[in-house]
Symmetry: C2
Subunit: 353 residues, 2 copies
């Protein structure tokens, strides 16, 4: 697979973003969903801000307080044996390492704009900032689907009651309409298809399961984009592969003559994130026609391998012009990068296997 | 709380039910949803059948094969150190005790009928038997909501890809229409309200969360009963109480002049299951008006305390006649029992706290 990474990569790094909160530092500007609006490319950046700790033995956790509309900070002593601080993203109880109790940063969505798709300026204000109790730990990983003149933006809402997927609609990237939590917790990586298929909307989603099951991709349908049903298992993780830990939707599915092209992420249990591809039936996207055995993209550049959480390429959106797919992707849970791929070449790789 | 347990309790026990499968024994006839149909009380019994093991050192796990339409049996040596067999309901990996890999029995739904509500005869055939790949480990814990002339029955579909909640509709308790998986995994204890409220259907549901959050009750709305959205957190577990482990909807919500009466189950981490009550706003059931601090019912009778999985009362349906609520409930994951309660008294208990 020939991937042309942008020469300007990384396009946006945390140092390009001024923190919104006094006493905080921006540690991530990444995983941005993509929209074309007027003559601009818009990235719905996930900006992660962390309270600055002067004392390396103190770990701080920010929590948005919906009553005071300010941030509370919970402090932990790194020597507190009840907690585990090994994963820099979260604070976990030592006896429950597969779950977290706090995050070490709070994410929200901020817009970066570009005329040429390579050079971005970043808005001074947040676009999506925690606005209800489901978001007290933040808003993460926005994806954007344009349907007619409406831009539907879905994202993870994180709070102590769970990780939901929520939806807003905007026409101008200034104001938005809240359409509620569209997938119950625990769910992430929701990707809404860009048009109705046989009278229904469709979306990929990735539930996180407790009692039984893997981190697999499911598909659901909806009459109205707010209510979802007909949940079906679509793509599973694959043992002994680059995607044996978890998979999840990446880009909004791309309509091609051969089918819906799904570009998704796959990771190992050690959290090395690559991008893969699959093809779904045009008339019935619950049918998987093809799936790549090899990843179409792996972390390779230094900015993909090193960072807050290294060895991660995490595509959240793309722009299609003929055969050229420009993919914007988060790198190392830190920054944004861009690259171009040939859709024909991706389809050819699906054929070869 | 005055509870009149039926003199005939337990009403149905496993010995009353002939197994459908040769070489199997019925180990549970429990957790039956309830309907009134023509002049009969119908219990949608969860029947659990287990392959008979002649050798106590061999544990067997039944799996429905949707291709051959027969049961496969997986055998485990009780001395296999990779697995844990302590919970008689399931087989778990020793290093992942909060999840299971197989169940030791397969459940399906069979109808018990009664003219007087006390004496039941059990159909010879299954009513809901695994009919797709989401049910290869069985169908569990049906609940039934009558809306106009349609009986909507939802239940847990259990398979290696997860635990979904699925819906069928019947008009005659002989045939049914499959309405798909209405809640993505992992979700259980879905209770559909018996009428539209302000133009939408509502349902309680109980997601099981992995990364963060508890076993709490959520509420969702739907335009059509198949697609669900607007997910909101409704009732949480309560620390240091009879319901500090998990809670989940029990009976179809009961409309009273004061609000929607929700009778739900609550359990400790040690799996002692009681029944509790809460009251939701009539016009907006996402608003909790009251909630009982004490359970309204606790396991007390011998048949509630002893069985396949003891210390469990698990109400799945009721019949309301004026002030009298007849509740049918599973006991000890084994049998069915019945009791009557006064709705006024339940409401009074909510007022006292």
């Amino acid at each position: 697979m020939k991937i042309e990474r942008f020469e300007e990569n990384p396009l946006i790094t945390p140092t390009d973003v001024m923190p919104l909160h006094e006493g905080y530092e921006v540690i991530g500007a990444f995983n941005g969903g993509v929209a074309e609006y007027n003559d601009e490319v818009i990235l719905l950046l996930r900006v992660a801000e962390r309270p600055i700790s002067e004392d390396p033995s103190i770990i701080k956790a920010p929590v948005y307080n919906t009553l005071t509309k300010t941030m509370d900070i919970i402090s932990f002593d790194i020597n507190d044996h009840a907690y585990d601080f090994e994963d820099p993203r979260m604070i976990r109880k030592k006896d429950k390492l597969d779950s977290f109790v706090y995050l070490t940063s709070l994410s929200y969505i901020r817009i970066a704009r570009s005329k040429d798709g390579h050079h971005f300026t970043i808005d001074d204000e947040a676009f999506l900032y925690p606005f209800n109790n489901y978001q007290t730990y933040g808003i993460e990983d926005a994806r954007c689907t344009k349907i007619e003149d409406n831009y539907y933006i879905n994202f993870s809402s994180v709070s102590p009651v769970g990780v939901c997927d929520s939806l807003v609609m905007t026409k101008d990237f200034k104001t938005y309409e809240d359409l509620g939590n569209i997938f119950a917790p625990e769910n992430k990586d929701v990707l809404i298809f860009p048009e109705k298929i046989n009278g229904n909307y469709y979306a990929l989603h990735r539930p996180s399961l407790k009692s039984i099951g893997n981190y697999d991709i499911w598909i659901a349908s909806s009459p109205d984009l707010q209510s979802w049903g007909n949940h079906q298992h679509l793509l599973g993780i694959r043992e002994q592969s680059w995607e044996n830990g978890r998979i999840g939707g990446g880009l909004v599915p791309i309509k091609t003559a051969q089918g819906w092209l799904v570009i998704y992420h796959g990771a190992t249990p050690e959290h090395r994130y690559c991008m893969g591809a699959a093809l779904l039936d045009l008339a019935d996207p619950t049918i998987v026609l093809k799936r790549s055995k090899k990843p179409i993209m792996e972390p390779d550049a230094l900015y993909e391998k090193n960072g807050f959480f290294g060895d991660v390429v995490f595509g959240c959106g793309g722009i299609v012009e003929g055969d050229k797919l420009t993919m914007y992707y988060g790198v190392a849970d830190t920054s944004m990068a861009g690259c171009t791929l040939s859709i024909k070449e991706i389809l050819r790789q699906l054929d070869e296997e």
